[in-house]
């Protein structure tokens, strides 16, 4: 018991930071799903594109951080927008399973292209506010964790504004709840899809920018991100942004507690075991609408 109490504050602090990363990924799943009805399994690789740009601008080109972050967001947005036009948009009227498979292939394509252009070696990005830990309540917390948690809150606020105050946001929410009805009243599904992918790309870029010092610019991390983000979105409920975010946060805390209190060997067993259980008992997620 003493052992558990000793390590618990550290595990919870780490779990919140990891959970914030998964929350942002889950949010991206929500956005694309809301705009297109699709599950985008290239999502983690979109974040990897952001990681690569951060390293290139911040370490490779030595640009100041206040320029690096917006440049990363814009560059990631442009790349993903181009990929959406080339690979997803032409399949709009196909059976939904086809674009789903294409997103899986797109992830592989992104990973292979990054390896080809940039190499397979992960690159280190320095912490933005130094790497001296701050001691809070028995936990040693890296300053970068505050960047990640703060960034997640900022992105959530921006999305709240987008979905409640802008025409596209409202249209996207409308389209997500009734796709056919939205088309009948003249909402352009093609444009909504483009904006959904664009928005998820901007979030991916921002996510990449703030998590790079913790996860490194690693070309191979995309699939793992996709699976954890998807698990978070489905666990919380993919039909609401706050449900997806809480799902991501839950996954991060759960897997860290499992790793710390039981063994890291069982992390995925618990995470995906609980995910399967939720899918069976509550297919719309723990916080999603009851079916």
């Amino acid at each position: 018991m003493t052992f558990v109490l000793t390590i618990l504050p550290q595990l919870i602090a780490t779990g919140i930071m990891i959970g914030a990363i998964y929350a942002m990924l889950a949010l991206c799943f929500y956005v694309v799903h809301a705009g297109t009805g699709l599950i985008n399994f290239a999502q983690g690789d979109f974040v990897v594109i952001g990681l690569i740009f951060v390293w290139t601008f911040f370490v490779g080109m030595n640009l100041p951080l206040f320029i690096v972050i917006p440049m990363t967001v814009i560059a990631t947005g442009l790349v993903v927008a181009a990929l959406e036009r080339l690979t997803i948009a032409p399949l709009r009227n196909q059976d939904p399973i086809i674009p789903l498979l294409v997103t899986l292939a797109l992830g592989i394509l992104i990973r292979s292209s990054i390896q080809l252009i940039w190499g397979a070696q992960p690159r280190s990005v320095p912490h933005y506010s130094g790497d001296t830990p701050i001691l809070i309540g028995g936990a040693a917390i890296m300053a970068q964790a505050f960047w990640i948690i703060g960034g997640t809150i900022l992105i959530l606020l921006a999305l709240y504004f987008f979905f409640t105050r802008t025409m596209f946001g409202l249209a996207m929410r409308g389209a997500s709840s009734d796709r056919e009805g939205a088309q009948v009243i003249g909402i352009n599904a093609n444009l909504i899809s483009f904006y959904a992918f664009g928005l998820s790309a901007l979030i991916s870029g921002a996510t990449g920018a703030i998590i790079a010092p913790v996860v490194n610019a690693d070309p191979f991390i995309g699939l793992d991100f996709s699976l954890k983000g998807f698990a978070g979105a489905v666990l919380g409920g993919i039909d609401k942004p706050h449900s997806a975010v809480l799902g991501g946060l839950f996954i991060g805390i759960l897997e860290t507690l499992i790793a710390g209190l039981i063994s890291s060997e069982y992390r995925n067993l618990f995470v995906f075991g609980i995910l399967m259980l939720v899918l069976v008992l509550r297919p719309n997620g723990l916080l999603g609408a009851r079916s």
């Binding site: 052992f3 000793t6 390590i7 550290q10 595990l11 780490t14 930071m17 990891i18 390896q115 190499g119 397979a120 070696q121 992960p122 690159r123 280190s124 790497d131 830990p133 040693a140 890296m142 913790v214 996860v215 490194n216 690693d218 191979f220 991390i221 699939l223 793992d224 860290t256 790793a259 710390g260 063994s263 890291s264 060997e265 995925n268």
Partner: protein, 385 residues
């Protein structure tokens, strides 16, 4: 009728001659060496590519001196993609080439085990870094480990902890949760008591994990005084960051050479200062006279700094070259079996390690011949307790 039978016999004999002629080695053609290393995948940049470059450099040096009895060495290269299936395909393909006399590679122990049957069936000598226990436990007639084995490597590391910190140490292990990592941690745990220490924590991780705070929190709470860190690159970085975050700088950290290789260094930098590791050679050892010329020629050829992977590939190709030269000097045919006979009794001074193979020992350098190094601000120097 009789003349028709003669004609048939003549045709059959001609066919046999043509086929056997095609299978025989071309006496004046190149001597081919298969090079199956990771050119893509997780271990490409850190090991596979530099190892291939080291082998090619050694081959070019041998060829520049006239080759083996006037015959040039020629590398036939395939990408094992840090994966088992492409390795098996490459070994199946290359082993069918009658002019190919030896294989260098693959990169991982799993792939090494997967090609064992191909090597044995084709009597094809294989030199590899793969360090899994099973590779030299039995049936290893054609397999030569060039680098410390898991067992001797662990003994060297535990010995270093005991010498440096004395008896009564509390050992924690951190290993990748694959066959190699699990074997390595289990072997160290089994040996710990004979080095006067107890195992207090056994943690693991998987590919893609980027934060080891949970594992290191458990290790810290266990009261560990030494950590056997079976990590490389991104995992070394995650381990070193967690050690710093949790204020565990008193922990003595030891591990295989991946702990402080170029990739680990580029990611973790000075966070790995003071770690102790075995290697093929301590790269900045001022007393190793083999290193400066190799560093110069490698830089000139590939425009890169020398790494332990390059040293390994260089040594493997030179072992093949030395053994072939010995065969040629004895006027024996340059065949796979002949080469294997020479390799199995080879005594070879590598760039930093000495190898003494016998029919019973193909298991890399012996314990006392393993260089122990320490990382300090970009330098890998010989370690002393």
């Amino acid at each position: 009728m009789q003349s028709r039978q003669w004609m048939r016999s003549l045709m059959a004999a001609s066919a046999v001659l043509v086929i056997s002629g095609a299978q025989a080695q071309t006496p004046n053609g190149p001597i081919k060496i298969g090079l199956v290393q990771a050119q893509t995948g997780a271990l490409a940049d850190s090991f596979g590519i530099p190892s291939s470059e080291g082998a090619i450099l050694a081959m070019e040096e041998i060829n520049a001196k006239g080759g083996i009895g006037g015959r040039k060495l020629e590398v036939v290269s395939r990408d094992d993609r840090t994966s088992i299936q492409p390795t098996v395909i490459a070994f199946q393909e290359l082993s069918q080439d009658p002019d190919l006399i030896a294989m260098i590679g693959p990169t991982t122990s799993g792939a090494g085990m997967a090609v064992r049957q191909i090597i044995n069936d084709n009597k094809l000598p294989e030199l590899s870094i793969a360090y899994g226990t099973a590779l030299t436990q039995s049936n290893f007639k054609y397999y030569y480990r060039v680098g410390p084995s898991l067992e001797t490597g662990n003994q060297a590391l535990l010995n270093a902890i005991q010498k440096h910190r004395g008896d009564g140490q509390k050992l924690a292990t951190l290993a990748l949760s694959d066959a190699g990592g699990t074997d390595g941690a289990r072997d160290a745990a089994n040996r710990a008591s004979s080095f006067g220490m107890t195992v207090v924590a056994s943690e693991n991780y998987k590919y893609g994990d980027t934060d080891f705070t949970a594992q290191l929190t458990r290790i810290k709470a266990s009261g560990a005084t030494a950590l056997l860190s079976l990590t490389q690159g991104i995992a070394t970085n995650a381990m070193a960051r967690a050690v710093k975050q949790l204020g565990m700088q008193d922990l003595m950290i030891v591990g295989p050479n991946g702990l402080a290789d170029a990739q680990s260094e580029s990611l973790a930098g000075d966070l790995i200062n003071g770690v102790v590791f075995w290697d093929y050679a301590c790269l900045d050892d001022p007393n190793n006279t083999n290193l400066p010329p190799l560093k110069t020629s490698y830089k000139a050829r590939f425009n890169k700094n020398l790494s332990n992977g390059a040293i390994n590939g260089y040594d493997m190709m030179r072992m093949v070259g030395t053994s072939l030269q010995a065969l040629f000097d004895e006027k024996k045919p340059l065949t796979r079996e002949g080469l294997n006979d020479k390799l199995t009794q080879l005594t070879f001074n590598g760039i930093g390690s000495k190898y003494e193979f016998t029919p019973e020992w193909h298991n890399g350098p012996r314990l006392e011949q393993i260089p122990m190094c320490s990382y300090q601000s970009g330098k890998r120097l010989p370690w002393k307790p």
